[in-house]
Symmetry: C2
Subunit: 345 residues, 2 copies
């Protein structure tokens, strides 16, 4: 598996070998034909989504201090995690995926092997099998993953549905992935590990940036219990993603700065200007779930789910604007500055 | 619609405006949420496939003599046609698609408008609506289209199923798209139009290269009538695609050179070395259907379907090799030299 492939057939055979492609359950016909065939159970609907992961846009092949094979493993994991997180945000159960992969021929040896290794671990963790895709040669690495899942008819949770008075909740800690990204870009993994005091927090942050874990169990729990009115995953940053829920639902929101479960930043970093609230509000790629809960259902919402903390951070408002209330009680407009590739940042 | 977009929201809004995104039938929730929701009818299965269309690999933004907006229109059409052809090859009915689109910010004005225009015409022709996707900025244009369709349970036609004695049939004319590609690259559209004698054939060839028409009605007819044992679309060239059927079915084949419905090449071009048989055997992107018919069902196979000729070109054999029988009756091994991006061509 260590030398570049000789032809496309060999590439597809490596993909089939490394990624589980077992036919069963929803998947009736998998990789290797013109298309995959999926069978729905009565009473269930199909959830379908796709996401890019592009070299230079979403990742670099080389980051100071990290081996390119370590990075390839993380890129494989993350390609699948991104799209799977969208299934989590609907309350769905992911089942199978299509992998569109374009890469330089010279990366079809050891790099591909590491990439497929990371993707295979993610696939086992998320419970999905590969069902097909497309492969070709390109100068830069291009990945597009389509994930298909299922959800009980009528139980999917969309972005539209938040009502004034609903509580706004979020899972996990926000800003961690962004902190991890910045740490990687500034210091590389090796350099960072030498900075003794930062080790624990920063290692966790880098891990979250590289190996995001879609909140599948939580999303399914919330859908099953009919606890929430709207939901999204925080891929672009809390401010941007809250904006998406509010726009789709035709409402506004206010959130309390001090309630936001922001990443804990070591004192040394804070002195150098790192701002936990800013990271939490604007940092992308945490892949946590942001959702709204009717007040009367709030008492049924646990404080954590499977060890993942759930935190109420604010409330949906009738007036269509986003407000941030700080520690002193003063209100300011929440600036949406999360990730937007087409904005002149 | 003529200036580049200011942010991603505006880009998505242009996509929604230009492409039909109506919810109905199979599509329960369309573009704009974390994922699309599809509902299957009892007795039907889902067919799912995806295909890349990449700048420099599958198309150029500029080809001598053609306006870049004309080309953008064709790229939009072809992105959707490629993946839809895979649904045709299963005997399925396409229903909706996800569009993953990455492009430079400067192309999000008039170029995007033309691209979406071509894609919108293709969508209407093929009967599909957009259901979601992903968008981002990139240096080169990157398109990945995922198409979802339906097929009656158990009626999908795979590549595996051809049996010794089955007749090998193909729709339309082969080599046309390759001839069109070569004409465009050599002369551009303007230059070509000035060459009086070539006009008709070459214009049709260029049209087929730029605006391939998936054989949806034919594929559905063949599946419905249970006429065929195996099927594939000719995207990589007859030799390569026949090889796929034979490998998946564990059989071999022999075909008659003189029966292959090769593109008609004008005398002037033939003198310059163009070879119709070579184009038919090795030229890609015709998106015709190649299928196998049991002998006893052959009399039910019409000579054309909706004006598209159906031609018997050979027979499936037990021995696992591909043979080409020429006009004089001499047999040679069929060389597979169709498109393979990973082979050192």
């Amino acid at each position: 598996m260590k030398t570049p492939v000789k032809n496309e057939k060999e590439l597809i055979s490596r993909i089939e070998t490394r990624l589980t492609s077992r036919v069963g359950g929803m998947l009736r016909l998998g990789i290797g034909d013109d298309a995959a065939i999926l069978k729905m159970r009565p009473g269930w609907e199909l959830v379908l989504t796709c996401d890019f992961l592009l070299e230079e846009r979403h990742f670099l092949l080389n980051v100071g201090g990290s081996s390119s094979l370590d990075l390839a493993d993380a890129i494989g994991w993350k390609s699948l995690a991104r799209a799977t997180s969208d299934i989590a945000a609907m309350g769905g159960v992911p089942k199978c995926f299509l992998l569109s992969l374009a890469l330089p021929r010279k990366l079809t040896g050891r790099w591909l092997d590491a990439f497929l290794g990371g993707m295979a671990r993610a696939a086992r963790r998320f419970g999905v099998v590969v069902a097909g895709g497309d492969t070709t040669v390109s100068e830069k690495v291009i990945v597009n993953v389509t994930v298909a899942g299922e959800v009980k008819t009528g139980r999917a949770i969309t972005r539209a549905g938040a009502r004034p008075g609903d509580l706004i909740c979020v899972s996990g800690r926000l800003g961690e992935a962004q902190l991890g990204l910045e740490a990687m870009l500034r210091w590389g993994r090796q350099g960072q590990q030498r900075r003794g005091g930062l080790r624990g927090v920063m290692r966790r942050a880098i891990q979250k940036h590289r190996y995001p874990a879609p909140r599948l169990a939580l999303g399914q729990f919330l859908a099953e219990e009919r606890l929430v009115t709207a939901m999204i995953d925080t891929s672009d940053g809390l401010s941007t993603d809250l904006g998406h829920i509010c726009e789709a639902s035709g409402v506004g929101a206010w959130i309390f700065a001090e309630k936001i479960p922001a990443v804990a930043i070591p004192e040394a970093l804070r002195r150098r200007g790192a701002d936990a609230l800013e990271l939490a509000l604007q940092g992308g790629e945490d892949y946590e779930l942001l959702f709204t809960v009717p007040r009367k259902a709030a008492k049924r919402l646990p404080s954590n789910h499977g060890g993942v903390p759930l935190t109420v951070i604010g409330e949906i408002a009738r007036e269509k604007k986003l407000s941030l209330i700080d520690r002193s009680g003063s209100v300011q407009t929440l600036i949406i500055r999360g990730w937007d590739p087409f904005r002149n940042n």
